[in-house]
């Protein structure tokens, strides 16, 4: 059972492949390797948002799905308005709202029983959805997302604050929040694709 669990984690499978599933007593060794794998992956995630919110795919994102060894199943796909991606062979998969890891797992699960024995899937986001910025900035509108950007960079893209901007009470609405709640944001708040940044007007 442990071996099956490890095999499903597509990205980490290569590290853990060397761990023999025939040694049931070596649980501590496997846990340590699991922690090491997690530690290796953490720096990659730190280049993205600094907070706990990891990016979740949404409509408009352009993905490159690569299934190792299967040219026909790989390619560039667009997430449509309903959050679905139309992949060859498996058809429409609902990937909207999932993180990249979870999306990879779902594609693996779709391919696994019927089409491929041990698929290796990697998904890379090529073009993120744009973010939107309105209110007291020189040029409100939508701008392409740049990885690792914060509110300051977003405002700079929009031409900077106007002289009436209330810089200390900027509001952000997360793109993947279905309730569209307004959250307070500071200069260093990370911006994710699909977010709406509102800069209010100050009176004094």
């Amino acid at each position: 059972m442990a071996a099956r669990r490890f095999a499903r984690r597509g990205a980490r499978a290569s590290i853990l492949e060397s761990v023999s599933s025939d040694e049931p007593g070596n649980v501590i060794g496997r846990v340590l390797l699991l922690l090491a794998a997690a530690a290796l992956l953490l720096p990659a995630q730190a280049a993205g948002p600094a907070e706990a919110t990891e990016y979740r795919l949404g409509s408009g994102d352009k993905l490159r799905v690569t299934v190792f060894g299967q040219e026909d199943l790989s390619g560039e796909f667009l997430v449509n308005g309903a959050g679905e991606v139309s992949l060859p062979l498996v058809g429409n998969l609902r990937l909207g709202g999932l993180t990249v890891r979870e999306a990879e797992r779902r594609v693996v699960d779709a391919l696994k029983p019927d089409y491929l024995v041990n698929p290796r899937v990697s998904i890379q986001v090529l073009n993120f959805r744009p973010f939107y910025i309105i209110g007291e900035v020189k040029e409100p509108g939508s701008y392409p997302y740049v990885g690792g950007m914060t509110v300051t960079e977003a405002v700079a893209l929009a031409g900077g604050y106007t002289y009436r901007a209330k810089k200390k009470e900027v509001i952000i609405i997360r793109g993947n929040d279905p309730k569209r709640t307004e959250q307070p944001a500071t200069d260093t708040t990370p911006v994710l694709p699909g977010d709406v940044i509102k800069v209010p007007e100050r009176f004094f």
């Binding site: 597509g10 990205a11 290569s14 290796l40 992956l41 720096p43 990659a44 280049a47 993205g48 290796r120 990697s122 890379q124 020189k138 740049v146 990885g147 690792g148 950007m149 914060t150 300051t152 960079e153 700079a156 031409g159 900077g160 604050y161 106007t162 002289y163 009436r164 007007e201 100050r202 009176f203 004094f204």
Partner: protein, 426 residues
């Protein structure tokens, strides 16, 4: 995913993060993050508001700007008396038109307007003022310019002016012709400016309210001439020191109350223009002035003088203006040669929204009469709001409290005014 692919993905994301960081550093490095789009020496009053400024009518190289103001004022003390104050509602209609040249070199501006006043209960107080004016500038070269200005004004004296006959049935009206011409020339850091001024006052006779007899006012007619020279030197971009000297001659045709009030005098001041990055800017000066009267019974008015006007843009939304002036003014009071008028004011303008402007001001002044024992202290406190509806209309509301404490008996007053204005313009 293989180790190699993971490393490539990490490097890509790190490059993207560096790119965003570099962008942030460039933005911060210019030091202009806060001052984006700021115009030098712009105040709340002078800031252009493209959505709310009138468009005007373009004719040839000129812009025609017509406007009509309708103001309703409640005045609690229209005669400015110490007791038994009479209040009234005053309706003022002020049409005006301005013609401004839109040339790249030189300038010519013309204007005309009137104030038509109607008092609800005191019809006699409703006097009409008007003005016609023009000014021009010739840019001879980049460093030399000639300028001239002329205006003909029909004005009236406010009740409560100590020089105005209190017994008059209507406020005293007078005509004022103003003209000035001069040139300015700049050579490197030095600028020289020479100006000649003329002010010609012509008073209309008043009628005594009780007896119906004429109160002669044309003895107050006078011509005032003045020549001013100003030399300034730019020590640093923030400071321009200047020396200004002016000579004036005030000439009365007739004796006024038995006195020959003609006089001549001078003023010499040194000062500096200050300009700290457009946040604090203005002019301050100090010096000495003296006015000497032809009539031996009228003593010379002289003393230290100081003045200036400084604007401080506290934030992009608030401007504080401070000003001080001192001048020697004419009087009709027997035995007094003139009065030294000193007044200072502090005004705060705040832009609440792009089209809502608030202002508050405080003025204090002293009029010291020379030759008689009289000092008038005058104070004014006001608050107001202006609402710019759109390009064609704006509205305003203001409250003004004014007060005078005088050594002379029966000259104190307290006055409240509330005014509501609507303006239509094109």
């Amino acid at each position: 995913m293989t180790n190699a692919r993971r490393k490539r993905r990490d490097a890509g994301m790190r490059r993207a993060a560096l790119g965003a960081g570099a962008l942030a550093m460039i933005v911060a490095g210019t030091g202009a993050v806060q001052a984006q789009g700021a115009v030098r020496n712009e105040t709340i009053q002078t800031r252009p508001r493209p959505l709310y400024d009138p468009l005007g009518i373009r004719t040839g190289g000129f812009l025609l700007l017509p406007s009509l103001d309708i103001t309703e004022t409640y005045d609690s003390n229209i005669f400015l008396t110490p007791s038994n104050a009479k209040n009234d509602f005053i309706t003022t209609i002020s049409p005006a038109v301005a013609l401004r040249s839109q040339w790249s070199n030189h300038a010519l501006n013309l204007g005309a307007g009137a104030d038509i006043n109607h008092y609800a209960d005191h019809g006699n107080e409703g006097v009409n003022d008007f003005f016609v004016k023009g000014d021009g500038r010739v840019d001879v070269s980049r460093n030399t310019r000639l300028f001239a200005e002329a205006s003909y004004n029909g004005l009236h004296e406010a009740r409560g002016n100590p020089n105005s006959p209190a017994a008059a049935v209507d406020p005293v009206d007078y005509r004022l012709l103003l003209a000035n011409a001069g040139f300015a020339h700049r050579l490197n850091r030095v600028e020289v400016r020479v100006t000649g001024d003329l002010a010609s006052y012509s008073y209309g006779d008043a009628v005594n309210a009780t007896t119906g007899a004429a109160i002669v006012q044309n003895t107050r007619d006078r011509d005032e001439y003045r020549v001013t020279g100003r030399v300034s030197y730019e020590i640093q971009p923030e400071y321009q020191a200047f020396l200004r000297a002016s000579f004036n001659n005030r000439n009365y045709d007739k004796l006024l109350g038995g006195f020959n009030r003609s006089s001549d005098g001078y003023e010499v001041v040194v000062g500096t223009d200050i300009d700290f990055t457009g946040v604090v800017f203005g002019e301050v000066f100090a010096g000495y002035r003296s006015q000497d009267y032809d009539d031996p019974r009228l003593s010379t008015v002289n003393g230290v003088t100081a003045g200036g006007k400084v604007f401080w843009n506290v934030t992009r939304l608030t401007t504080i203006t401070g000003s001080l002036t001192r001048s020697v003014e004419e009087t009709t009071i027997g035995g007094a040669s003139g009065y030294f008028s000193t007044s200072g004011s502090l005004q705060v303008d705040h832009e609440l929204r792009r089209n809502v402007l608030l202002d508050a001001h405080l003025k204090a002044g002293v009029n010291s009469y020379e030759g008689i024992n009289r000092d008038d202290d005058e104070y004014e406190l006001g608050i107001g709001a202006r609402y710019l509806i759109n390009r064609f209309a704006r509205a305003g509301l203001s409250y003004t409290y004014s007060r005078r404490n005088s050594d002379a008996a029966g000259s104190d007053y307290t006055d409240h005014q509330v005014a509501l204005t609507a303006r239509i313009q094109y």
